[in-house]
């Protein structure tokens, strides 16, 4: 399966993401710059983390209005998988491709630590390598990860299994509603999450719990 990594000024997790995708799929992803209006034929588009446009205005707000986002939206409508991690998640929300918003952490502090993540829906294209309810280790590093959606939207998302990851075992680092760490769109091909699975894929990282997400999305699950 082929993948692409989007690059914007201020994103800084793109190299980690490229390394993870290359190691897990055996193929280096293509990179796509923010001004590009066409994206090559790929199966997975990843918007990595960082601080696009210095987090000015709102995290992800300016990036979400760049030309490449229209191209990503069109690909998503055709069923191509899209993954947004950290700032990538914020960008997908600002672009209106996922419901809700991410607010400043309840503690008002930047959090950089490891959390426990529960797989709340193991039947998505991104999580089928995991078991339902499996608890993963995963690092987080963000200032605005406090997920918010109005009561009606939240209920609909919970009912439809759109909450894919939850902070588990009391490790919610940001005050996020319902301990939400990651959500998927109704169609099931656009996933946004605050934690960084790309930073836990091999022994050198101290664990490989994040590997299953890429193995699922890239269709390289070991038999």
């Amino acid at each position: 399966m082929k993948s692409a990594v989007v690059q914007l000024p201020g994103l800084n997790r793109d190299r980690d993401m490229i390394a993870a995708l290359t190691k897990i799929s055996g193929k280096a992803p293509v990179t796509v710059w923010q001004t590009e209006t066409e994206i090559p034929d790929v199966d997975l588009i990843v918007i990595p983390g960082g601080f696009s446009y210095g987090d000015y205005l709102r995290c992800g707000a300016i990036a979400a209005r760049m030309p490449v986002m229209q191209a990503i939206r069109e690909k998503a409508e055709k069923g191509v998988k899209v993954l947004g991690v950290c700032n990538g998640f914020q960008i997908l929300l600002e672009a209106g491709m996922l419901p809700g918003a991410l607010m400043r952490n309840a503690s008002l502090k930047f959090v950089c630590r490891e959390v426990k993540l529960e797989v709340a829906n193991a039947e998505t294209a991104f999580t089928r390598a995991y078991a339902q309810g499996q608890v993963l280790r995963c690092p987080v590093a963000h200032h605005d990860g406090n997920y918010f959606a109005d009561a009606e939207t939240l209920k609909a998302m919970e009912d439809q299994g759109q909450v894919v990851f939850r902070y588990a075992e009391g490790t919610n680092p940001n005050g996020s509603m319902n301990d939400i760490a990651g959500v998927i769109n109704a169609k099931g091909n656009v996933l946004g999450m605050m934690p960084h699975p790309e930073n836990l894929i091999e022994a050198a990282h101290g664990g490989s719990d994040g590997r299953g997400l890429f193995a699922s999305a890239l269709d390289v699950i070991a038999a």
């Binding site: 205005l57 709102r58 707000a61 300016i62 209005r65 929300l93 600002e94 419901p99 809700g100 918003a101 607010m103 400043r104 952490n105 309840a106 503690s107 008002l108 406090n146 918010f148 959606a149 109005d150 005050g175």
Partner: protein
């Protein structure tokens, strides 16, 4: 030249951790009787036109498209 001020505030019911911290800090400074504090953003925007109706329509579009995230924020527009 039209000068406009756009004010963006959080919707009611949206938690405002920064407002809460400011509220606490005001109390700590000894200001009594401070109730809820909600923080927001102000944009002063100059528009090179004399057409107020068009400016207002444009400002509304700017708010909807960029200045406010209408999932969590409200906005008001005032022209000088």
């Amino acid at each position: 030249m039209i000068k406009a001020r756009v004010t963006v505030t959080l919707k009611n019911g949206v938690l405002d951790p920064q407002g809460k911290a400011i509220e606490g800090a005001l109390g700590a400074l000894g200001f009594d009787g401070v109730g809820h504090v909600r923080q927001g953003k102000v944009f002063d925007i100059e528009i090179d036109s004399a057409d107020k109706a068009k400016a207002e329509a444009d400002l509304k579009a700017m708010c909807e498209k960029l200045l406010a995230n209408t999932v969590i924020e409200n906005y008001t527009i005032s022209l000088a």
